[in-house]
Symmetry: C2
Subunit: 500 residues, 2 copies
Amino acid sequence: MNVVTTVDPRDGRRRDTELTETGDGRLASIVALAAQSAAWLDALGRSGRADLLHAIADAIESSRADLAAVAESETGLSRSRLDVELTRTALQFRMFADVLRDGGYLEAAIDHAAQTAIGPAPDVRRMLVPIGPVAVFGASNFPFAFSVPGGDTASALAAGCPVVVKAHPSHPLTSQAAAAAIATAVRAAGGPEEVVAIVHGQRAGLALVRHRLVRAAALTGSIGAARAIQAAIDERDDPIPFYAELSSTNPIVILPAAAAATDQIADGLFSSFTGSGGQLCTKPGLAFIPSGPAGDRLAEALRQRVVAADGVVLLNERIRDAFNDGRAALERAGARLLARPEPGSTTGFSVVPTLLEVDVSGLTAELAEECFGPLMIIVRYDGASDLVPAVAAVPPSLTGSIHATDQDDRATVRRLADTLAGRAGRIVFNGYPTGVRVSWAQHHGGPWPSTNSLHTSVGATSIRRFLRPLAWQDAPEWVLPAELRDDFQEIPRRVDGRPR
Amino acid sequence: MNVVTTVDPRDGRRRDTELTETGDGRLASIVALAAQSAAWLDALGRSGRADLLHAIADAIESSRADLAAVAESETGLSRSRLDVELTRTALQFRMFADVLRDGGYLEAAIDHAAQTAIGPAPDVRRMLVPIGPVAVFGASNFPFAFSVPGGDTASALAAGCPVVVKAHPSHPLTSQAAAAAIATAVRAAGGPEEVVAIVHGQRAGLALVRHRLVRAAALTGSIGAARAIQAAIDERDDPIPFYAELSSTNPIVILPAAAAATDQIADGLFSSFTGSGGQLCTKPGLAFIPSGPAGDRLAEALRQRVVAADGVVLLNERIRDAFNDGRAALERAGARLLARPEPGSTTGFSVVPTLLEVDVSGLTAELAEECFGPLMIIVRYDGASDLVPAVAAVPPSLTGSIHATDQDDRATVRRLADTLAGRAGRIVFNGYPTGVRVSWAQHHGGPWPSTNSLHTSVGATSIRRFLRPLAWQDAPEWVLPAELRDDFQEIPRRVDGRPR
């Protein structure tokens, strides 16, 4: 058995843990127990699962200090950032408790028997039911909010699906600690711990999605990881849905009048592209800034902030190397170096924030590739006529942002918004794409390569990924789920075509 | 250019049409024009598209006699069956007009800016937007309702997506005639005909799903066709969703007390497995009938109906050959022949209805394979203890049916319903799975191999296959779609987490 190792990115030191990579026999037993635990989740009902999600949120917050400490040592992310992430993680569980109590997510619909143009029609009732055990692949950059206790886990549990998480190799001990916190809450509710299980090791992750009892998979990670997982899924007899949140350049456009707010926008852009070491899937990688004096002042203000910036520790060696390679490739591809402070320290996986610049006419496909880490390219444009086609040529992203004031040209804003609508999952106005709100209306997804599907991994509707429709025809009332009986009034439903 | 041929299945005669298979250049031009027509669909708005769908329904009904005549000569289906299918087809367009006017399908949600546990959160608004041009593969067995003017086309148009249909080679002239009827309505509405286009030929179908402007594909057909289409999609740089409705055995269980209604159930089963030549994806292929006198009487009543039945003309030579091969394979695999009338005529692609029988202990995976056409296997069981595991071993299906009276054991009904819930998309009580109601709550899908996805191809929610979520953050009101503005009241929405 391969021993699982942990690395402190602040000094690069690797040490063995007491964990081993999950072998085939152990994996089969974990998945079997997870599948069995579906009955317990189902028996809890919506209200019981809502209570469970609250208890998990409380358990995570009770372990806040321990969780943040181990995550800090495995990710190099700052304690304050991890603290916010932990709060967000608890918030996600509580939001799905609200989603369960609301019940609209079931999409319950009743069509009573009726006469139609093609004759008498039976009574048909439909709602969504859990899909079964879900494989979740933890992300490197969110050790809580997109990992063991992340949104995929919270939404799958809410749906009634057991979860087996493939722990990210960058934070195995954080993953274990988070699973232990969840297990405390599950045990207190009288449930089987295996309702949220962990496996370690790449081989185990691929075996997981090949396992016949696993009914869906979710990933926040790289295109390479997604391809490997999809290839494993393609070996199955039966296809299963795979929801992958991948790569994103997140263009942000500063229109000429908006660019006059020099310091405000320079602060915002700087924070957005360097926060969390620039290791966010919504990091703005391309900032379109006008030519001319206002744009020059904004570029200079940004340059000053980057020059004065400290180095940052990246999550792992692979990400550090990919960042350095990516930066060098961008410079070779014609991006001018605007700012790159001298590294204060070179221990561990540290790098320095980097600001590059290119004229809009020189913006090639190579320069529009995501570079994960604290790097942004300023793209200098002359006007709408070169700006809009350039934005339209950037690969699709999770987000696209527009800064505009009332003095900016409305027709240009409209054209940019229409362009981004076809190429992004979320359009941000006068703000920054990082800091994704967790709420009912949120959407975190977008056309390929930002995701491989139409579905969102943040917000209330992300639960739908782990549900499937089921219809009952002329069923006796005692067979129907409570939510589909005539006299049930507690959730929003559609009855004979009308919302009730 | 290969000439497209048409075959009358009643006599097997093949003749050339004036159509040719669609070459690469013509395909590219068709898809480009289809993509351009999306702007017109968008400009129509929900209300304009609802009017268009009504106009298409009217145009199809105006061409009823011509459409039914050409379909009869290309499919061998009876005029009365085609007449009902045409009415159903018009109904589908009108239902999606209702869906558009209702507007709930947009899933419009507004979260106003707020303070949250992790700080101030922006205003986020989300709704579904059209995915873009859709490739639809027409089905052999529904020349209208699942072909050019079928539910996939109706739901995609409703969503705002242009459609390019790959016409089924069994009914090219019906496809052209249906497209002409649709084009009449589109022209009258001032639209570009290319909003619903047709291509012919297998090669064109595969090129269609490889085309970069095509954003989704839908098929009602065989697993083989689905594999070929998926392989073509896998050649793309960007994955696109593919919704395939495939193969289904549709087990139906007659519990002991219910079996006493001998003639009623014999009539129902006979109609359900022989109607439309048994060429329905919801045809019951396996009927579980109890051992003992009531079951014997039911089996005998069925046998008498089959022995007295006329031959039926199947849709094409391939389906006829597959039926004969499948029937022979089932007999070789141990199914006893109960009834197979002498063929009255052997012209064209005619076959005779066939009733086979097997003891529950002999029900193998081979016997549970779908045999498309007028064939059903009676499975004789002794009691719940052999019945339930046998039902659980049947491959997942679009439907599962249970006939039970108050005298039948409730615990058995419950166990069967729970078993089928995990293995079917629709559970039918005291009825037959054929004759799928078109309505809001309907679901037509199920676990693999009945479909390759979680999504339904019938009912109001089938529109969701052709929509993707898009979020606007802090957008000025004039940029927002009308449905996401604060004062818009005409559709069901979710505002700050509450249905309004």
